[in-house]
Amino acid sequence: MNAQAPAETGYNFAYLDEQTKRMIRRAILKAVAIPGYQVPFASREMPMPYGWGTGGVQVTAAVLGPNDVLKVIDQGSDDTTNAVSIRKFFAKTAGVETTTRTTEATVIQTRHRIPETPLTDGQILVYQVPIPEPLRFLEPRETETRKLHALADYGLMHVKLYEDIARHGHIATTYDYPVEVAGRYVMNPSPTPKFDNPKMHRSPALQLFGAGREKRIYAVPPYTDVVSLDFEDHPFEVQRFEKPCALCAATGVYLDEVVLDDRGGRMFVCSDSDFCASRRDAGHRGEMANAAQPAGQS
């Protein structure tokens, strides 16, 4: 493995300069020591736009070493455009080995999903976070939300969820569903579907969260309690799908709806492309496995 960045990039290993990495690394260590607390950090301008993963990219750049194997997913898939772009960025600036296999990766950067394959001790999951503040849509001012976190005053959040129940009979939040970490901080899991929330609870992997535009880093150490907020009479529930994956027949996984035509034709397939491919390689066949595969992006 090439220890230095390929010469033609003209940039430091993993793009960031060492001073920036030290600053981010200090923030990561505080984040690990204070699970769920959003550590402010001096987020840098990155060569991709804000909102496209600059926080995750900075965390990954600060963590990554020459022996790592990197996987990047967006919407659960390795071949979505932003995932391809970020994977190429690190292949180019850090010269690290990349993979699409969840089991082979040491560092996984993700947007909007947690892989279906359970993560293991020693793996690091880096989340790209657009809005780190769970109270932001209830209280837009940072000065106020900081006070609420300091006081562990999460009444607003419970009122919001309860209003949902009063109005709809159930909680109407489907993604970025708030969690309580290690019995103290309420945290945004980033816009993963709430389906993935239970995977965060006592995961053997280290979970790091980077929000570039909002300049925050937070973390969930391995084997840490992550509890989705709910009420005794309205316990937390995850999404369920009526059918198995049309390609690999998996059940109990998160599915993407793929539109086949403009006459209402639909198929449901695994959002986690590596998981789906591994199952098909192992001989599992869904009802449309032999029909036309959904086309990739042209």
Partner: protein, 364 residues
């Protein structure tokens, strides 16, 4: 040197001559031609056409040259030219489902009929300065593929098939408002709001759209679809009674799909925010669709609590030609008013001083 009050005319002529000289730059550098601007700075041209509200790439390119690259100044030039043009009527509604797609992406579906077409985009480029461009190296040949045949259905039409999104029905005979021909009244209907936003300043709308994403009027947006390409503009001359093509217009259309929990009258469903601009400008079309949806707040029985939802605030301040004119007018002489203020401040200070005298004496 400061110009004395008299003799201003010569000074102004001199200033403008100097401007022309500065615009040209050093003579040993080749003068830029409008067709270079039109074809090599085409996104600047697109912005000037969109906010200038006039589809004429060559004219917009010339305006950019004249404005020394100041795009708001160029927009101003185009607007002033537009004013002088005769108006024959309005085109038929553009059929964006029949667009010759150059780029078409949906964030709500991984794949869909017509496919995801990336087209020419900065997305996923790494923003590393490319020093090869300075050397003038020829770019690689782009890959080519047969274009999609036939109409590419809009994502919102797919959702409409399941009635998951609010229905939008064409109203054939309704008059189309035009805020360049009649003064804007509040509350303004959506046609006028969309016109104002389409002409509105990209930066202003961007900031407002962004504010809705950060909790100041949240709308739970998803990009149902963005498409860019050419659409034929058609016009029905009264004497003919049938549509004749006027020519292709390059457009960016954004259909934002927003979560809506429903109210007493309406079931839970997705609602729409719409953006349409000349040329290729996704930033503008997306910002426009976020602000369009935010401005529909009252329509859905929601409370107006944020700047982006405040129709008067948004429509009164989104036009950059108006805004730059009024902000920059502060450079004009104001000495008559200022003289009056000077007198007033002196008088108030004297009164303030007089009021303090007895207090001072009492303190001593």
């Amino acid at each position: 040197m400061y110009v004395a009050v008299k003799g201003g005319e010569a000074a102004i002529d001199n200033a403008h001559a100097l401007l022309a000289h500065e615009r040209r730059g050093p003579e040993e550098i080749t003068e830029i031609a409008p067709d270079q601007i039109e074809h090599q700075l085409s996104l600047a041209v697109d912005r000037v056409m969109a906010e200038g509200s006039l589809y004429d790439p060559a004219l917009a390119a010339l305006a950019i040259k004249q404005a020394r690259g100041d795009l708001i100044e160029a927009i101003f030039l185009v607007r002033a030219f537009r004013t002088t043009l005769p108006r024959f009527g309005h085109s038929d509604p553009l059929e964006t489902a029949k667009m010759a797609i150059e780029r078409r992406i949906s964030a709500t579906y991984k794949d869909l009929p017509g496919g995801q077409v990336l087209g020419p985009t900065f997305d996923y480029t790494h923003r590393l300065i490319d020093f090869m461009l300075a050397a003038g190296v020829a770019p690689p040949e782009p890959a080519e593929a047969e274009p999609e045949r036939g109409a590419v259905p809009r994502v919102t039409d797919l959702l409409d098939g399941e009635q998951l999104i609010e229905a939008e029905r064409a109203v054939d005979d309704a008059p189309v408002g035009d805020l360049t021909r009649a003064p804007l009244d509040f509350p303004a209907d959506r046609d006028l709001r969309l016109q104002a936003l389409a002409r509105g300043d990209e930066g202003f709308l961007l900031a407002l759209g962004y504010s809705t994403q950060r909790g100041y009027g949240r709308t739970h947006p998803f990009v149902g679809e963005i498409r860019f390409g050419e659409v034929m503009a058609e016009f029905v001359p009264e004497e003919l009674g049938f549509a004749v093509p006027l020519g292709p217009v390059a457009l960016t259309e954004c259909q934002m799909v927003n979560q809506f929990h429903g109210n007493a009258e309406q079931p839970p469903q997705f609602t729409r925010g719409y953006g349409l601009v000349f040329g290729q400008s996704e930033r503008k079309a997306m910002s426009m669709s976020l602000v369009d949806r935010a401005l529909r707040t009252r329509e859905f029985g929601e409370d107006v609590v944020a700047p982006a939802q405040d129709e008067e605030f948004v429509l009164s301040h989104c036009d950059n030609v108006q805004a730059t004119g009024f902000v920059e007018h502060l450079k004009l002489p104001h000495y008559v008013d200022f003289q009056a203020e000077l007198g007033l401040v002196r008088r108030m200070r004297a009164e303030h001083e007089a009021a303090r005298e007895p207090l001072k004496e009492a303190a001593e």
